[in-house]
Symmetry: C2
Subunit: 243 residues, 2 copies
């Protein structure tokens, strides 16, 4: 059962996306909303805070809230899982494991995943039949058996791990940059060597903060982009100089 404020947030979100509150318009005041939903003002504030975090509405002290944008927001699972994302968007997704082996963790991996042995997996993912993404993932040893037990054509690893061992990915850190395709990248993705790839390196942890995997994902240029909304109040995005 969802919380009260989530109901209110969902209803307001629907109204915004349906055009009841068009972009640029003002949202009803907190007092009005509180009256409409017979809720306390604090509860309404929590609801609109959700929308603000999604970048759907903005606010300034003293003035009414403004609708900033329509259309948005994927769940964490959809971002994390290529297959779940593609399916929810109506794409046809494919993929297979090209290689998989256990090995000792390098020093950087040992620190990041707090483990001494790792399972390294190379996967190629396709979208509408076209190779689009090359995943080089390193799993911590405690989850390795569950990953090895998966069929090599398993579509959604995230989903499978949840179904089988109840694993939930909860926190992620992502590093996004551009690289030139190496020989192997080029061959597997069907592009020329040196052509641009969008690289997403990420580390994911469980709800308890335990690291699960470290992955280097490379997308063919022109196939996929990342989108972020931020504001003066909430800025999850940062820029880094590479050494």
């Amino acid at each position: 059962m969802a919380a009260r404020y989530e109901h209110i947030a969902a209803e307001l979100r629907d109204e915004i996306l349906a055009g009841v509150h068009p972009v640029g318009a003002q949202l009803p005041s907190e007092a009005e909303l509180a009256a409409r939903y017979s809720a306390a003002r604090g509860t309404v504030r929590q609801a609109v805070a959700v929308l603000a975090a999604e970048g759907l509405v903005g606010s300034r002290q003293g003035a009414r809230r403004i609708v900033l944008g329509g259309e948005r927001s994927q769940s964490f699972a959809e971002l994390h899982s290529f297959a779940q994302w593609a399916k929810s968007k109506g794409h046809t997704v494919g993929g297979e494991v090209l290689g998989q082996r256990r090995r000792r963790a390098g020093p950087a991996e040992a620190v990041r995943l707090s483990t001494t042995e790792v399972l390294e997996v190379l996967r190629l993912r396709t979208l509408e039949g076209e190779p689009v993404l090359l995943e080089r993932t390193v799993y911590a040893s405690w989850i390795a058996p569950a990953v090895e037990a998966l069929p090599s054509d398993c579509e959604s690893v995230t989903q499978a791990l949840y179904d089988r061992v109840g694993l939930v990915f909860a926190y992620g850190e992502h590093l996004i940059d551009a690289v030139a395709a190496g020989t192997e990248d080029a061959r597997l993705l069907g592009v020329r060597r040196g052509s641009p790839l969008l690289r997403q390196r990420r580390i994911t942890t469980t709800q308890e903060g335990r690291p699960v995997e470290w992955s280097d994902d490379r997308y063919r240029a022109g196939s996929v982009a990342f989108s972020i909304r931020n504001s003066i109040g909430a800025n999850p995005l940062t820029r880094l100089a590479l050494p």
Copy 2:
């Protein structure tokens, strides 16, 4: 004067970054923190909510909050302004305007910036003397005069616009992908044609939700990366299929 919860958040953040609460450790309970700061629990909750939004701590109902990461978080201004970011990181930054002209807005620009005329500016930015970033920015007509009045070697446009006309950038939407360097890109950035560039397209608006600029920024590969923290509770990052 900053709010109480901001003080508490800042203090906790400092403690985390200083290692008082190492990564993976538990934060004191809300009750303890409330006692320590002689604040209500609600105020403490607001403070830790800030840290959670920054991706510094995670939380689960029933269990203590966990420290997820050290080192983090730039202000919105630092992300938005290349110069402010570079300075705060101790880099030496340079740059110049290579071209600037007014023209009629294209159909897409007219919608995005809600204007019929735009000011187009091409800027090259350097880091430690090396060309790193090529900015193609389109300003809405209402801010164009202020931008034209800036000196061509103005380091921080963001800062200058704030100082002169009080303009504050408040909301942004970013689209990040990889592209191959075109002829002009390659010449100005000093790379070979076709080499990978990290592209960040963004649209920025004021606090009132009024669009200010639309920019296409291209970083030389290997110079800069973007970093995002997200969680199951707050996911500002989304993946998009390109047409």
